[in-house]
């Protein structure tokens, strides 16, 4: 999966996933940031394709300018220099529920073709094989953000026909209840970028990362995945993107090696 960048050591699948996610933020304004890879992607976008991006964290921080990579979504570096710190009721009610958030980032342990997401449990709810963290703010982000971007590793155990628990609702059959945000619009994995066909609300492969074949994608998807009319190639990370990740955003490679 790794390819050589123009210079320096090869980039990793995780770096490709983060870079591809950050590019999706071009032109976006207000972004609800999650910890880990979404956090790096959003901070990378702010330094590249979306300099005016306002970073909003569910801890209540609006307009954060973190001086270091935050260790959590409530890291003190988010507060120092921020535009505003709200309490969590205000953050979720006035900012998220009322529709001020353009993009919400979510991770997922399982996703289906309609972008329904499970982060609660593998197995039955009362007899879990694996107990996952649960919703956190994901359920309300999925419902209320204008767009939802999903970042997750892909395999036929994560891209499944039927998820074990719907934590955060997607498109169902292309219909979203009135008053809701637009739902999942992009899914970025270690293999490809996916979008949702507007008519059916169903995921389709939009862009393959370098070195990834359509067969590879199909092997790692448990349903018969749709393919966009124009299937693109994800450009590899640029030198500048890699430098920012490696020197500024994740110098210890916690999320990117």
């Amino acid at each position: 999966m790794t390819e050589r960048a123009q210079h320096g050591r090869p980039y990793t699948a995780a770096e490709m996933m983060i870079v591809a996610s950050s590019r999706q933020l071009e032109g976006e304004r207000v972004c609800f940031v999650g910890v880990g890879p979404p956090n790096i992607a959003c901070n990378l976008a702010k330094r590249t394709v979306a300099p005016d991006l306002e970073l909003v964290y569910e801890s209540g921080v609006f307009g954060a300018v973190p001086a270091r990579l935050p260790l959590s979504i409530g890291d003190p570096t988010l507060v120092t220099g921020a535009a505003l710190v709200a309490n969590q009721f205000e953050l979720f009610a006035y900012y998220l529920q009322a529709g001020l958030i353009d993009v919400g980032f979510l991770g997922a342990s399982q996703i289906d073709r309609y972008g329904n997401i499970n982060t609660t449990v593998i197995g039955g709810y009362d007899t879990p094989k694996v107990r996952l963290p649960g919703s956190g703010g994901a359920c309300e982000i999925a419902i209320n953000a204008k767009k939802v971007f999903v970042i997750m590793p892909q395999s036929n155990r994560t891209f499944v026909e039927r998820i074990d628990f719907i934590t955060s609702p997607g498109h169902r059959d292309g219909k979203r209840p009135p008053g809701w945000g637009g739902g999942p619009s992009v899914v970025v994995t270690n293999l490809a970028v996916y979008r949702f066909a507007e008519s059916a609300g169903e995921m389709e492969v939009a862009s393959l990362h370098p070195g990834v074949s359509l067969d590879h994608v199909r092997e790692n998807t448990a349903w018969d995945i749709r393919v966009a009319v124009t299937l693109e190639q994800t450009p590899p990370p640029t030198e500048d993107e890699l430098r920012l990740i490696r020197e500024e955003l994740d110098p210890e490679g916690v999320y990117t090696r």
Binding site: G74, P76, V79, T80, F89, Q97, G136, G137
Partner: protein, 307 residues
């Protein structure tokens, strides 16, 4: 509620205000999580508590391993930025001890439960949960129609803990409490609770509070005890005082994965220590120095004098 000096020790506050079977909320979102209170509750071997928190975090993993809880009310169950809470998972996945009863919401659902509790409302309406399986897993999340027609939303019930424990940067002897940085939902949890313990980095004179009343989050009127316990949030943090000890959060993954090492940790860091003061000493000066941030002061504001 007695007026005047509410200052007491952690040992006394927990002994007097936390009882077996109580519903307890130690709130604080990443920031200001009062680990010292959790440790004291473990040390005093409280039992059958219902523990409430948006993010149970390492503190409730420790408390549940310490045997104090029968039930957990929560919205995100993990070691933030690191991984799992293994002591909780062993109980939930049926691998250890009695099953732990769970009552699960989303973050906004939990926050609105405290809001309803604080405002003495029978429920709070929110837009979350439609098309999600959460209402199936938790029948207390209920669909309702707007009384003004047209909209179907969800209701969550009030959460009124018997005790809320809130850590803050500073308070005075009356319990007027000031917090800055990430505010979480401590104010809502405190107003929703029957009893409130405030734990502070610093006890300040009343005029210090009164010179900056906008920063006061919790009024002394609802506070039962003020405990002065610096560095009580470690490995969590207090804005401007000390950073999160991320190494501890990373180390916890291995400690809590193995029941024997978790038991040994509780013995070494909780049961064998008499107080949080001993814990602070044991953490060591070198680590405290590494966790101390450089200063970054806000500018004073002019409230004006109106005579």
């Amino acid at each position: 509620m007695a007026s005047g000096d509410k200052v007491t020790s952690m040992q006394e506050a927990v002994a007097e205000l936390v009882s077996d079977g109580d519903t307890v909320a130690i709130e604080g979102f990443t920031h200001l999580i009062c680990f010292a209170a959790g440790h004291e509750i473990i040390r005093q071997r409280k039992r059958d508590l219902t523990l409430c928190r948006l993010t149970p975090d390492v503190i409730y993993d420790q408390m549940i391993a310490g045997g104090v809880a029968k039930k957990l009310v929560f919205s995100w169950l993990g070691n933030p930025g690191v991984g799992s809470l293994h002591a909780v998972r062993r109980r939930v996945e049926g691998k250890e001890g009695n099953p732990l009863e769970l009552e699960e919401y989303s973050h906004f659902g939990m926050i609105c439960r405290y809001v309803a509790g604080a405002a003495d409302l029978p429920f709070f309406p929110i837009r979350s949960y439609a098309e999600s399986d959460l209402p199936k897993a938790n029948p207390r999340i209920v669909p309702i129609e707007s009384p003004y027609g047209g909209e179907s939303i969800y209701a969550v019930p009030p959460l009124n803990p018997n005790v809320a424990i809130v850590h803050a940067q500073r308070a005075d002897v009356n319990g007027d409490t000031q917090i800055w940085g990430v505010l979480g939902c401590q104010k809502e949890a405190a107003f929703a609770a029957d009893r409130v313990i405030v734990v502070v980095e610093e006890l300040v004179d009343e005029p210090v509070i009164r010179r900056d009343p906008n920063r006061t989050v919790i009024p002394g009127m609802i506070v039962d005890a003020v405990v002065v316990e610096p560095r009580a949030c470690h490995p969590s943090y207090a804005q401007g005082y000390y950073d999160r000890d991320n190494r501890f959060y990373l180390d916890w993954e291995a400690i809590s994965r193995d029941p024997a090492s978790l038991e040994a940790w509780l013995k070494e860091w909780v049961f064998d220590l008499g107080s949080h003061g001993e814990y602070v000493e044991k953490v060591g000066q070198e680590r405290w120095a590494a966790l101390t941030p450089k200063e970054s002061w806000s500018d004073p504001v002019n409230y004006g004098e109106y005579t």
